[in-house]
């Protein structure tokens, strides 16, 4: 792998593009409008073509104006068709953007055939070629897209910072926003305008399919990781930059491992963003797949533990000798074994010659569980009119979530009985452990 100025510019352009997209994309994700990003990025095509056909140049300003007009038109048409056609938003979006996209393609193929606005570029852009298209700024020669994308990024950043609270309330509670005089509709169309402008600026760099990835994936990734809007926006920028850097590195190294020439950075960048999302989805601390699995596992382990304790206590009650190893608990064997060794390590049970028995401390813990269980049975039978032979299963679940304070209230509500509905003794409350 060899790194040159060229590579640096590719990464800079990709990162500028990613950040500009991610900034507006956060609000699409939050408002469940992700497909609107897709729709607008496709639908701006006739706007671009019209601007091109009218001005016979690829000058930026007319193109941005054309895109902004068609972008807002897409949002308006979608809303009208949804309202008057009585179809859902997805269907009405599908009608609008495919029709506009097709119109744009026809305009390009028919009217602009001789020029370099071609259908390939529409699909995945030409990031590498874009670097070669240079311009001069303050005496420095820089690629043209750095200027355009930089400008769009600044506009988006200014929008997100200045209208931070207006965007937040319009996304969270548009009705309240409107009653407070912050017109959620105006904010919506402002956002759609910026989505359209961003789509156009990113268009020649990553094409209008991959632009959707850069709008949605950083925001969706940040959404999994954060609890505040401000941090969500910042994290989404980080994801966009990481996708750009890692994407370009992947594009110039990975194909080489398999004997292929370098691939295009735009595609690798979108793929990298997807990969980052996947990793976060697995390992995110709160909503991640792995952490939720771990959480469920810990919960079932605790329940097995407590059922073991409870059943040992019941065996003692029935005056059976120290039970056969281990008392029956409805759980996989490995979980029971794990629970037994944890309980033994904590000194709640004792293992001798393959038999397990409660220690004094274990007996206290178990009697608390049994007290919860039998108080719940009493409560359910007396106050909820559940048939006494139907109370066990419910009490079995409730006992695991009952702490001392709840048990004290339960005792008061049931007037602290000595026996449960089946006539079994309810163990007394122990003083809190110090």
């Amino acid at each position: 792998m060899s790194w040159s100025v060229f590579d640096t510019w590719v990464v800079v352009i990709a990162a500028l593009c990613g950040c500009a997209c991610a900034l507006v994309g956060n609000y699409l994700v939050l408002r469940r409008l992700s497909m609107m990003g897709d729709a607008i990025s496709h639908a701006v095509l006739p706007g671009l073509a019209a601007a091109f056909l009218l001005t016979h140049s690829r000058a930026s300003l007319p193109m941005f104006i054309g895109a902004a007009v068609v972008g807002v038109l897409t949002a308006l048409l979608t809303e009208w068709i949804r309202r008057f056609g009585k179809v859902d938003e997805g269907a009405s979006m599908g009608v609008v953007f495919t029709a506009l996209f097709a119109l744009g393609l026809i305009m390009i193929v028919r009217g602009a055939d001789a020029v370099d606005l071609d259908a390939d570029c529409v699909l995945y852009g030409a990031l590498e070629l874009a670097v070669l298209d240079t311009t001069t700024l303050f005496g420095m020669t820089i690629p043209q897209p750095v200027l355009t994308l930089g400008t769009v990024l600044l506009i988006n950043a200014a929008f997100v910072v200045l209208f931070f609270k207006e965007l937040r309330i319009s996304a969270f509670d548009p009705e309240l926003a409107t009653t407070l005089g912050i017109n959620a509709g105006v904010m919506h169309y402002l956002l759609m305008t910026l989505v359209a402008i961003t789509a156009v600026a990113s268009f020649e760099v990553i094409g209008n399919i991959l632009v959707v990835a850069m709008m949605i994936v950083p925001g969706a990734t940040a959404y999994l990781l954060t609890e505040r809007l401000r941090s969500m926006v910042l994290v989404s920028l980080g994801v966009a930059i990481a996708s750009a850097v890692l994407g370009h590195l992947a594009a110039i190294t990975v194909p080489g491992w398999f004997g292929f020439p370098d691939t295009i950075t735009a595609g690798a960048m979108a793929a990298m963003a997807g990969l980052i999302f996947l990793v976060v989805l697995l390992v995110a601390p709160r909503q991640g797949v792995l952490s939720q699995m771990a959480h469920r596992l810990m919960l079932s382990l605790r329940i097995v533990r407590e059922d073991l304790l409870g059943n040992l206590y019941r065996q003692e009650e029935q005056a059976a000798a120290a039970g056969a190893y281990p008392p029956h608990v409805d759980a996989p064997r490995w979980m029971v074994r794990l629970a037994v060794s944890r309980l033994a390590a904590e000194g709640l049970i004792q293992r001798t010659n393959g038999h397990v028995a409660l220690t004094d401390r274990g007996r206290v813990a178990a009697s608390e569980l049994l007290r919860s269980h039998r108080l719940w049975e009493t409560f359910l039978a007396d106050q909820m009119s559940v048939r006494p032979d139907h109370t066990h299963r419910t009490a079995e679940r409730l006992e695991h979530v009952t702490d001392r304070e709840m048990r004290l209230r339960l005792g008061q509500d049931t007037q602290a009985p000595r026996l449960d509905p089946q006539g079994k003794a309810i163990p007394p409350e122990h003083p809190p452990a110090t």
Binding site: L30, K165, E166, I169, L176, T179, L180, G181
Partner: protein, 275 residues
């Protein structure tokens, strides 16, 4: 189709367009609301006196939420006029507080309870200005009043349904409004939250605020509200609870039989020429 035809049904109140009191916190003149072509509220015409807790009661689909939303310009009116303290709503926004239904927002949104309450201040803060310490303190105080100060920095999806409703209530309090509209604040809340809401409503009344509440539990109406609007696509009756909340009126509101008006509405929806 714009306004409701003057079909004959017994008017529960004699008020006409020009007998409204200019000082009333809310007066609605001949308001009709339609979705597509189907009318959902007919000829609502009423004045609400100041300093009252007003229950809006009626069966599902009676147009209770629609009444509030039409007053607040959130759904278009087919006809009619709404005055807040004698002036059009648009000029009186700052006097109006709103608590939407809890289900109307996404509780997984990345904001804290405090952030949500501060949203009630956005109208007072004004465009483009940030939420400064002063507003956060005010929001914290409101959270404290509904017993939620300890939860200020929790993300809202970590709150129970009742706690979420209290956050909404705190958000209404920071609005410093004169008249409040609350859409089913009692729906699906725990006993402690219900108590907090009732207490808050009474505090508001003691400060001469007017509160209109969409309410479902008929049993608690006489206890919570001193004024009721019985609604079933039209105002069946409205006035002081003791006078209006009678079995006969409830029968009229909840009675299963299609009224002449419903039949006319249905005919309109099917379109002319079809019978």
């Amino acid at each position: 189709m714009s306004t409701a035809p003057p079909l004959a049904f017994p008017a529960a109140h004699p008020a006409t367009g020009d007998e409204h009191s200019p000082a009333a916190p809310l007066s609605i003149h001949d308001m009709t609301v339609a979705y597509h072509r189907k009318p959902v509220l007919w000829d609502v015409d009423l004045d609400i006196p100041a300093g009252k807790l007003v229950g809006i009661v009626g069966p599902n689909g009676a147009g209770k939420s629609t009444l509030i939303k039409a007053v607040l310009d959130l759904v278009p009116k087919a006809s009619g006029r709404v005055l807040i303290y004698g002036k059009p709503y648009r000029r009186q926004r700052h006097l109006v507080g709103y608590v939407p239904q809890r289900e109307s927002v996404d509780w997984d949104f990345p904001v804290s309870a405090l952030d949500v309450v501060a949203m009630g201040c956005y109208g007072q803060i004004g465009w483009l200005k940030p939420v400064t310490r002063r507003w956060r303190d005010k929001s914290l105080e409101a959270l404290d009043r509904v017993g939620m100060a300890d939860f200020a920095h929790r993300q809202i999806n970590q709150l129970s349904g009742g706690q979420q409703q209290r956050v909404f209530l705190a958000r209404a309090l920071v609005q410093d409004a004169q008249i409040y509209f609350m859409d089913e604040p009692f729906a699906g809340v725990d006993a402690a939250t219900e108590k907090t809401i009732v207490q808050t409503l009474q505090d508001l009344r003691a400060r001469d605020k007017t509160v209109l509440v969409v309410h479902h539990d008929l049993q608690t109406v006489p206890e919570y509200f001193d004024y009721v609007i019985l609604l079933n696509m039209r105002v069946v009756a409205h006035g002081p609870t003791a006078e209006v909340f009678t079995n006969e009126n409830l029968q009229k509101t909840y009675g299963g039989r299609l009224t002449l008006l419903d039949e006319a509405a249905e005919a309109l929806r099917r379109g002319p020429g079809v019978s």
